[in-house]
């Protein structure tokens, strides 16, 4: 038990540091392809962190949907737009960016202060009556998804359909 917990800590800390590092690399690299690849690393690390939270379903969905489908789309679009013509973003130092980044850092300080100073109360036993540690298994998520949340699930499928239709209409060439 002790060894398992130590292993969990090790996984969490290493994956958290790697995800922080790769997302920092993502926002600082000039070449969009490098940004996309670093973001894929960050998504994989987040998937592993979901595993430490006992959320197997979301971890697999994270790797499949984010690291697989969405990043594939993004890399595909980067390939379609001509980077050499677009030119890789120049390193331009501007006061507005610095001030903006500083204000965003203040946002982090606020989040950190809120997390540290506030202890959320409430019952920690769960409303959906689950066995301990079973909150994220495919079984419990599936039972909720096709039971209590069936209507939102159907709406989500309609949303995806609308997204597909919208993408086709937007990307269709209009030269007739």
């Amino acid at each position: 038990m002790e060894a398992a917990l130590a292993f969990k800590w090790f996984i969490f800390l290493s994956m958290g540091l790697v995800s922080l590092f790769s997302s920092l690399m993502m926002i600082t690299r000039r070449n969009p392809i490098h940004c996309a690849l670093w973001l894929i690393v960050a998504f994989f690390c987040l998937g592993v962190i979901y595993l430490t939270l006992n959320a197997q379903f979301i971890a697999v969905a994270q790797v499949m949907v984010y690291a697989g489908a969405i990043m594939m789309l993004i890399v595909f679009v980067i390939m379609l737009i001509h980077l050499e013509r677009e030119a890789v973003e120049k390193a331009k130092f501007s006061a507005a960016k610095t001030v903006g980044a500083f204000i965003a850092f203040i946002l982090f300080l606020e989040i950190a202060a809120a997390v540290i100073s506030y202890r959320v109360g409430g019952q920690t036993t769960g409303v959906t009556d689950l066995a301990k540690g079973a909150a994220g298994t495919v079984e419990s998520v599936g039972a909720l998804l096709y039971g209590k949340y069936l209507f939102p699930f159907e709406i989500a499928s309609i949303l995806l359909l609308i997204g597909i239709v919208g993408a086709v209409i937007l990307a269709k060439r209009r030269d007739e």
Partner: protein
């Protein structure tokens, strides 16, 4: 050794969210801004999962699932918009795509 406190997860989530926000503010390429928004959505998902684990309550997983669904739909439409903008304006620099401002 105690279990990982959920506040550590929330701190990581806040740090990732902030990094995404800094990217949105400092980068000028539309597609990189798009990637930063995806990172921010992921950070929010992480805090959903942390609360879900803390409260032994599977609804957080459902919320994260719906965030993923919305992100997928957003990726499809957003990338189509980016492609169309690039076809019409031959640039992705958001400082130059300012027709709606005037």
């Amino acid at each position: 050794m105690a279990d990982i406190p959920y506040s550590l997860y929330l701190l990581l989530s806040g740090a990732l969210f902030t990094i995404g926000a800094i990217g949105v503010i400092t980068r000028r390429s539309a597609i990189i801004i798009f990637m930063c928004i995806e990172l921010m959505l992921n950070a929010v998902n992480l805090s959903f999962m942390a609360f879900s684990y803390h409260y032994k309550e599977a609804s957080g997983n459902i919320f994260a699932f719906f965030v993923m669904v919305v992100a997928a739909a957003e990726a499809a439409v957003g990338l189509a918009i980016i492609l169309t903008v690039f076809k019409n304006r031959a640039t992705l620099n958001v400082d130059q795509i300012n027709t709606l401002k005037y």
